[in-house]
Amino acid sequence: MSGGKDDMLLEVTDLSMRFALRSAPFKPKRHVHAVNGINIRLRQGETLGIVGESGCGKTTLARCILRLLEPTGGSIKLNGRDITHAKGRALREARRDMQFVFQDPYASLDPRMRAFELVREPLDALTDLPRKQADERAIALLEKVGLTAAQARQYPHQFSGGQRQRIGIARALALNPKLVLADEPVSALDVSVRAQILNLMADLRAEFGLSYIVISHDLAIIEHVCDRVAIVYLGRIVEQGAVETIFNAPKHPYTEALLAAIPDPDPQQRRRAADIQGDLPNPSAPPPGCAFHPRCPKATALCKQQAPEPRMLDGREVSCHHAV
């Protein structure tokens, strides 16, 4: 498992994605730099968690990796092959190996198709499995994520939010992908089903050597399923490393704030997170220097002028002038 460069599944280097914004007439054109110089390495069988501010660019990053978007800078290599600007057949091949579980399950499922048809669709599109076998495989996958054969014949609107998310997961697994990008895969599920899905994801990983990139706001979930974690703030990774290293001793003030804001599941410990000071940054006009400085308790003059470069500190990569 360890070592060799050949088990490197995904290499994302200096990736950027800029969106142009419609602006009022006669005003200069504005941009949102949704992803800004991101570096990620993922080995076969490894699981990376991505955590961060809402709107910091997590979904955009995932969409770039899946090449649903064409990045405006940097490169993406899957299995050693550069797919940054891949088109046609090369792109279809890359997409077979990567699947996406969407954040908003309802909006991503075709309302006119039954659950098993939704799961069968990628099989029809990218394999030549006969109809009957494809149907069986689809139903087996739905059962694997905890839906019944009878439910497999229902339409998306006849399911609850969490049940729809399970259809999305079954659909992502249909093609035996190497990499699954899961955008908030379990946030719509109650904790007991959540446990089932997370255990299922762990089993599939052990069984097929699947790799995951899991985007989640729930740090306990990240701790449970991920080997490494990347904390993102305004399009940049501010801290990255092994989950244990970072959660046990966070070095970036934003990571510290996140860990402190988790609501405690014990009502005897009523401890409301204090509101973080300062306004959220405007992604189309990011603050100068370190993007976190307007909300950072440790900010100094240096932070307002100069963006910190990533550096290694105590076994993790962190971008903060004052991390010690």
Binding site: A150, S160, A195, H217, A261, P263, P265, P281, P283, A285
Partner: protein, 327 residues
Amino acid sequence: MALLDVRNLVTEFTTPAGPRRAVNDVSFAVQRGEILGLVGESGSGKSVTALSVMGLVDNQVGRVTGGNILFDNTDLTALPAAALRALRGKRLSMIFQEPLSALNPCYTIGDQISEAFVAHGDSDTRKNHQRVLELLRLVHIPDPEGVLRRYPHEISGGMRQRAMIAMALAYTPDLLIADEPTTALDVTIQAQVLNLIDRLRRELGLGVLLITHDIGIVAQYTDRVAVMYGGRIVETGPTAQVFATPKHPYTIGLLGSVPRLRHRKPGEKRTRLQEIPGSVPSIAQVTQGCRFAGRCSHSMPQCEQQMPPMRERGPGHDAACYWEGPA
């Protein structure tokens, strides 16, 4: 007098096998200035309960067929559609579970929030524009001027969720139903939004029905909690009590499967999360008895035969279960 008093609510959907109950004999109350948490298995009927109260069950496929919904002493089930529309969005508002499907993709965020005012006869465009900006600031949306002009697909999931919250607060409602309001937000922003709702509760006496899967949120923000399973409320009581001494085996399983940050040591093996085996029965399956019986490790013969009634297990703490609890 409770602000919202739901009694024996039944909501049915048409299925190929005939009408089936998604919400079955549900009763609960929300007082002014109180946050009631509603938790439960996905598919247990939480959203349908909320939509029933709002009068928003799609009447092509389902309807409220029983019970009463008393809002400030008015029975909403007996109210003409126009009167209900006048309440909705003004005194009674809801944050929907899936922002992308609740927002219209063809209108900008600004237009959709202003529409909340226009629908109630406030059509001063300049004034509405100002109010919309204020609302967006209230929910901590960065660059509100810019976001106004964007379409739902041009903003992030968390921003869409905050836009929905802003819309629900367009008029200060008496009752706010929040269906998973913060799932797309990072925990620091989640805390800001929940602290905002909590402040409105304290200062303006807002009553809140908070639907969530996040047990931490229930623990920190709710006064009382109701646990749903298979279309029914199976346990309800003061949050601290229910968490300390859960009585229904489903509640026990639910609280037991909460993933907690354990601060794993380097190299320490990951533990498996505790699960409740099996899955929630589909509403198409009709049973006489307790819907949890098939998954319950304490089930007895009578559980299969008759639905256990709600029984008091402590002050204000009720559970629908025959099992007496661990000896």
